[in-house]
Subunit: 141 residues, 2 copies
DNA sequence: GTGAGATTTAGAATTATTCCAATAAACTAA
DNA sequence: TTAGTTTATTGGAATAATTCTAAATCTCAC
């Protein structure tokens, strides 16, 4: 299992404040749920998990919170196929491995410098501020 | 502009036959439309372009044809954000550059060996059969 | 405590895609 | 050819994911 680097629950309120946003119970819970099980859940899955602890929360709020967390860059939205967006609280530069057998998604640590190295293939005139790498295949067990 | 490598209109019928599928006018037209303007159109955009030449075609057929072409591997389905799937007839291994200003997507040629090199970062037990690379940023003009 | 602005909420609306059942077209065998 | 069989297309209904909207609730500054 790769190491992960994330905002902590404590630093979240800090980060939100820096964007002029409030640290609401809903935002904190959505974030904590993402931290608890790092399996790249969909909004619906997050909703189900969150609802178990806060039965009155709405799906619209889960979407709102996820969007907010993505804007604040404490969560990454992951899209690599038709189908619902998945959410990832791993802040470290990492790639995604999509296991085609199980449908599960794993984080892959990137060696330092790899993203910059990959960027060197860009022709003149292209200036990338992010690089995303997605593997597809079979992962053992 | 990167070189592209694609199936030709002639080889399409061949490729379809190899999969036991028929080379229908709809499939050929959808494919030719993709070849004509390589801007990674959505199914809706393909539908509009195709309809100009074959006014009776249906959107369902466009989806069916695109799906067939993807299965035959003469077209790639591209998904890197919420929103409709985009389609690309470039068969060569290439990355995508998403220009955030214009929303347009450009093909980026990959130096030979780059994908294999990137695969070497995978830990034991991960066996990737494909690697996708997506850049986001600003492209000149 | 009040008022302004931010956030949440339920439900409606929208978008993209898939499904379905009926028709049409193409291929096969006689 | 033609009848039978399979494949493909079509329009419309259905579904899935997300976004929108307007009303209620909450928070913060005063
Ligand atoms: Mn999505
Ligand atoms: Mn899509
Ligand atoms: Zn991740
Ligand atoms: Zn492409």
């Amino acid at each position: 299992m790769p190491e992960t680097s994330t905002a902590t629950p404590e630093s979240l309120s800090q980060t939100l404040a820096e964007s002029g946003l409030r640290a609401t119970p809903q935002r904190e819970l959505v974030f904590n749920i993402l931290l608890k099980k790092r399996d790249h859940p969909t909004a619906d899955e997050v909703f189900a998990r969150v609802k178990a602890e806060m039965p009155t929360i709405s799906l619209a709020t889960v979407y709102n919170c996820l969007e907010t967390l993505v804007q604040c860059r404490v969560v990454r939205a992951v899209n690599f196929e038709r189908g619902p967006t998945r959410y990832c609280p791993n802040q470290k530069p990492h790639a995604h491995f999509h296991d085609e057998q199980t449908g599960s998604t794993h984080d892959i640590d990137l060696p330092p410098g790899l993203l910059d190295q990959v960027k060197t293939i860009l022709p003149e005139g292209y200036d990338a501020n992010s690089v995303e790498i997605i593997f597809r295949g079979k992962a053992q067990s």
